[in-house]
Amino acid sequence: MKRELTCIVCPKGCQLTVELEGKEIISISGHTCKRGEDYARTECTAPMRTVTTTAAIIGGGVVPVKTDRVIPKELMFECMKEINKARVSPDAKLGDVVVENVLGTGANVVTTRNAKI
């Protein structure tokens, strides 16, 4: 079986072709870098995504946050629920952890700017 993918690693958006036999990857083509090849591999076995969203600041407002590494794609909405429950200190600095090891994925949810503007 052949699977066509658009690589999301960088803005180039290479068109990748993965040849599969069952779950086994026979060949990967179309990538122009090593990261693209890795992407094709995980995308066909266990797709991963970074989640970027906002978290509420205690006392009002929101601060942007992200998972500091990719998490399983199917956990994105569960991850949103965890983040939506979190409350961030108004003194939080860029990079502060908002949710540690979210859903046991090993990824921390961290702020991507200071809570105070």
């Binding site: 690693v9 180039k12 068109q15 970027t52 969203t53 906002t54 942007p64 909405f77 991507t112």
Partner: protein
């Protein structure tokens, strides 16, 4: 009147990069004027990742990318004023601005860098029939509500236009619990990056309806639905294909326009295609000492390129202030396009060094050659599998090529 060596209009990624580059090139007397509450420009609300792969070799979110530059500006103690609106720029480089603490004030600058960014095309320009209820936003306005203010401007959403902000907002609103019903794109191809179609639409099963448009908006007070239709090859809606989609929100992501009111008022020539100033490779406009960079010059897909371009403008402004560019340079080459290449930036070359030329194409073309000609002579021919209007291309004109030019024109074409 106060005078400053370099005034930079706009403290977004372009303005900050330009400031840092000019500072590092020896110009210390700089003032950045920013209209928003803090430095960072539109990146402050672009909280998604995907920025900085070229520039920093890592994947950053918009606020993180902006912060990298904000730190550089602050480390160098480059002065900036926020919540300050520039109202006018005169031909002799007097900048009139206004804020709460200084009131209205004027500054005489030796050089000016224009870095005002761009804005989205509004609904009016699209002339969609129907009612005019609440619930119609540009994607960027919705992005501000969701990411900066923490409010949901819609629950059931249709997006018209497949520009990157629209695609990003499709995912963003979905993650926040909204139902994005469809993205309609008038053209037969998307205006956004392929990766964004994959990770913002396909990941969530949101249909991308190419060659479709919204023909009517329904709802008295708040949007209640839209009628969409397929369009023919002349982009006219086909009546038999009309269908009604229930929704409470219509987001528009139909393109960006450089914000050049100040530029126009200053009498600077504007390129009809880019809607930005006509510049040389130093990003100097046709008013000596006035430079432009970033999305005010032409709309970029990647902030990394904005930074790159702004470095060029910052350094060139520094040279100009130090008098190094004072003499008119002899070699002037006009860059022309065949229409399939829509535009180039810069539009002319005045120097003798390597120049990277940025350009966009007018349509999706496959298995083509990007060709640059000096008269009849082909000086560059670059094979490409695919080019698309949504993706900016570059070619490098080397100093050797410039030195051996026979004519004073270079023609860019797709073959």
């Amino acid at each position: 009147m106060k005078s400053v060596d370099l005034v930079i209009v706009g403290g977004g990624p372009a303005g900050m990069s330009a400031a840092v580059a000019a500072y590092d090139a020896g110009i210390k007397d700089i003032l950045i004027l920013e209209r928003d509450k803090s430095l960072g420009g539109i990146l402050r609300q672009c909280i998604h990742n995907g920025f900085g792969l070229h520039r920093f070799k890592e994947e950053l979110t918009g606020p993180e990318y902006a912060y990298r530059y904000e730190i550089q500006v602050k480390e160098r103690n480059i002065p900036f004023k926020t919540e300050t609106m520039v109202l006018d720029i005169s031909e002799d480089k007097v900048v009139t601005a206004m804020n709460s603490t200084d009131g209205m004030f004027q500054i005489k600058a030796k050089a000016i860098i224009l870095a005002m960014g761009c804005r989205e095309r509004p609904k009016g320009a699209l002339n969609i029939a129907g009612t005019r209820p609440a619930g119609i936003f540009t994607a960027g306005t919705a992005q501000k509500f969701v990411n900066m203010d923490g409010y949901m401007p819609g629950k059931k959403v249709v997006i018209l236009g497949s520009g990157d902000i629209g695609l990003i907002m499709a995912r963003r609103m979905t993650l926040e619990g909204a139902e994005v019903k469809a993205v309609c794109e008038l053209m037969p191809y998307s205006g956004g990056l392929a990766r964004n179609i994959e990770q913002c639409l396909n990941d969530f099963g949101i249909p991308l309806m190419l060659s479709h448009t919204v023909v009517e908006i329904h709802g008295k007070e708040r949007v209640e639905g839209v009628t969409i239709a397929k369009v023919d090859d002349r982009r006219r809606p086909i009546p038999e294909t009309k269908q009604y989609i229930e929704c409470d929100t219509l987001l528009l992501s139909c393109g960006l326009l450089p914000e050049n009111e100040l530029t126009r008022a200053a009498g600077i020539s504007i390129d009809r295609i880019t809607s930005g100033a006509v510049v040389d490779e130093n990003r100097q406009t046709d008013i000596e000492g006035v430079f432009a960079c970033g999305n005010v010059l032409h709309v970029h897909d990647l902030v990394d390129y904005v930074s790159e371009e702004s470095d060029i403008a910052g350094k060139a402004a520094a040279r100009y202030i130090k008098g190094e560019n004072a003499a008119a340079l002899p070699c002037t080459v006009e860059l022309e396009t065949d229409g399939r290449v829509r535009y180039t930036v810069p539009q002319r070359i005045v120097g003798k060094e390597d120049v990277t030329v940025y350009f966009r194409v007018a349509d999706v073309f496959r298995d083509i050659k990007i060709t640059v000609r000096d008269g009849e002579r082909v000086i560059i021919s670059k094979k490409k599998q695919k080019v698309a209007p949504g993706e900016m291309e570059t070619v490098k004109i080397t100093k050797d090529m410039l030195a051996s030019l026979e004519g004073n024109k270079l023609t860019f074409s797709i073959e």
